[in-house]
Amino acid sequence: MVLSRLLSHDLPRSRWLALLLTLLVLGLAFAPFLFPGVKALNVAAKVLIFIALVVSFDLLLGYTGIVSFAHTMFFGIGAYGIAISASALGPTWWALVVGAVGALLLSFLLSLLIGLFSLRVRAIFFAMITLAVASAFLTLASQLSDITGGEDGLTFRLPELLSPGFALMEEDFQGPFGAVPLNGRFITYYLLFVSVVVMFLVMLRIVNSPFGRVLQAIRENDFRAEALGYRVVVYRTLSNVIAASFATLAGCLLALWLRYNGPDTSLSFEIMLDILLIVVIGGMGTLYGAIIGSVVFLVAQSYLQDLLRWLGGLFEGLPLLPALLTPDRWLLWLGLLFVLSVYHFPTGVVGKLRERAAHKATKEST
């Protein structure tokens, strides 16, 4: 019951899905112990950050039916907020708070403006306007090099507790899978984990509130929603603002983890595409999809080159295949992943599992 309330009664509705989600969440919760090593922890942390980011985007796309390409802009604002203030004010907690609050304010204003001005135009035009605004913002960020470090970006330090040099214990913890250094990175990881869990639950509540239901109705038929007395512009703008704030927070987390930020890291169109793909893999309009999609995609992206290196070794000597299977052509396979996931997961992993469950249920009832 408590769990159900925590999840806003929006349960996985499929036994396999529930099992999968439990496994993934436990995996992330104990990642530092289960998968020791710098690279593995990096992947886990990125998964967490992307869960937060994708969840915020799904509010727009899956629930409100708005295609926005400006989402990375807010992500970037969050990351730059921390980066700029930590560079300017030094490695203090205050700097982090100032950075996060400043970034949230800027995102709030921008998303409000974008929402009020352009959510009136047709969906395609909105998508294109946001695409243009995002690319303008990217240009701006690389031009204002005095503040943002330009294309070089900003490298900065964090408060002692979060920096790699800080040791919780002198000795590494000897886990069953290897040594786990209990340092500042370890603490940062759990800071991310807790933040993302909270953000996820809050978002789950928002989409299952009466407000969230209105968004879904607007997605279906905005004209009708107006006629019922819902002011579509207000709802869309609010959704835009909420999504932007969550993306900004996700950006702050990214900056905390990387202790670096630059235009390519948080603002590039590539990240926008990654988000879109994760939403599609996981399933649009269901927040659980964000968890599954992020894990699948980021693990694939991070280990694709290793996989290809291995595969390329297997097929050595054959014509053409090695040219395609070199790690250097990993993007080719990533592109293929785009195509295949659209082909095979029209409703995403979550949708697919739920269909199965629903199918089984109807079969049993007859």
Binding site: L61, V67, R120, V121, R122, A123, I124, F125, A127, M128, I129, L131, A132, V133, S135, A136, T139, Q143, L273, L276, L277, V280, M284, A323, L324, D328, R329, L331, L332, L334, G335, L336, L337, F338, V339, S341, V342, Y343, P346
Partner: protein, 325 residues
């Protein structure tokens, strides 16, 4: 045409006229204007295919750029084979290299477009989001395959001998290649206007996007038509790639991705699907880039976007709205 809407077309000379006092020198203005118009027409060529695919067929093809790059690389290969003609000091001999390069680029891009439509686009007609993703995937794959075939680096695509250099008009210089580009651009424009306005093709595409079932119920094989249009759009992109590659004189596997936002802006300004609109949009973009580049280089970076926003504030559906989407 009784009630033809002249205002958007008039914007082009208006912009040029406004720029004259700002630029000051007449010869500089002339150089900039011709350069801007020519660049506009080249942009129009690369965007023209997208007018069909995105504007009329309503396929948000983020992979359009790959056909541009493909066309350019094919041209590099053809030029390599016909190098003797390309470096000959005779316009006609140069054409012997240039025309096959253009044709080959169009044929290859069109053929790849055929595959692209079948494999990538067909399952997602009418679903914008999936179109974005899957065509983006197609774009990545295409770009990587270009790298496999032609290598990851830049290749040179030098202009044929007689197209180098400029004509001088007093102190103004008008590059020869830009004149050729203008001619090709206008030819593409005329061909498109004729096909879309004098035949039912344009109508059918627009109707098919709104209600496929109804068009089929009226007895038209919409699928075949869509394939045809997509192939035509890709072939035009291939031609655009040749023109763009010659204009830059280098080709890069990423060149398609680099122009993506630019051509989207042109199509949006044009009103999603209007050929004339795309032409006006492209010319405005070309002129704007040159004038602001001269007057305020810092602003030039944002000139396209500012232009688009301004146009959309004036006409929220673009200058010549085709569809009420």
């Amino acid at each position: 045409m009784r009630d033809f809407d002249w205002k958007p077309v008039a914007l082009v000379p208006l912009l040029a006229a406004l720029a004259l006092p700002a630029v000051g020198s007449g010869s500089t203005w002339l150089t900039l204007t011709v350069a801007g118009l020519a660049m506009g027409l080249i942009v129009f060529i690369i965007a023209s295919g997208l007018t069909l695919v995105f504007g009329l067929m309503d396929v948000l093809n983020f992979g359009h750029g790959v056909f541009i790059a493909l066309g350019a690389f094919v041209a590099v290969s053809v030029f390599g084979g016909l190098n003797a003609y390309a470096i000959a000091d005779s316009f006609w001999l140069n054409l012997v290299a240039l025309v096959p390069a253009m044709l080959a680029a169009m044929v290859v891009a069109g053929a790849v477009g055929l595959v692209f439509e079948r494999v990538i686009v067909r399952p997602v007609y009418g679903q914008h989001l999936k179109q974005i993703l899957i065509t983006m995937g197609g774009m990545i794959i295409g770009e990587e395959l270009i790298k496999v075939v032609w290598g990851p680096g830049q290749l040179a695509l030098p202009l044929p001998e007689t197209l180098r250099g400029s004509f001088l008009l007093g102190d103004a210089s008008i590059e020869k290649y830009r004149l050729l580009a203008m001619a090709v651009g206008l030819a593409v424009f005329a061909a498109m206007v004729w096909t879309l306005n004098r035949t039912k093709v344009g109508l059918l595409i627009r109707a098919g996007v709104q209600d496929r079932e109804m068009v089929e119920s009226l007895g038209y094989r919409i699928r075949r038509l869509f394939v045809g249009v997509f192939v035509a759009g890709s072939a035009l992109a291939g031609l655009g790639g040749v023109m763009w590659g010659l204009y830059q004189q280098t080709v890069l596997p990423q060149m398609g991705a680099q122009v993506n936002v630019l051509i989207f802006i042109v199509i949006i300004i044009g009103g999603l699907g209007s050929t004339l609109g795309a032409l006006v949009g492209a010319l405005l973009v070309g002129l704007m880039a040159n004038y602001t580049g001269f007057l305020m280089p810092k602003v030039a970076l944002f000139s396209n976007i500012a232009l688009m926003v301004a146009i959309l504030l004036w006409r929220p559906q673009g200058v010549y709205p085709v569809a009420n989407r």
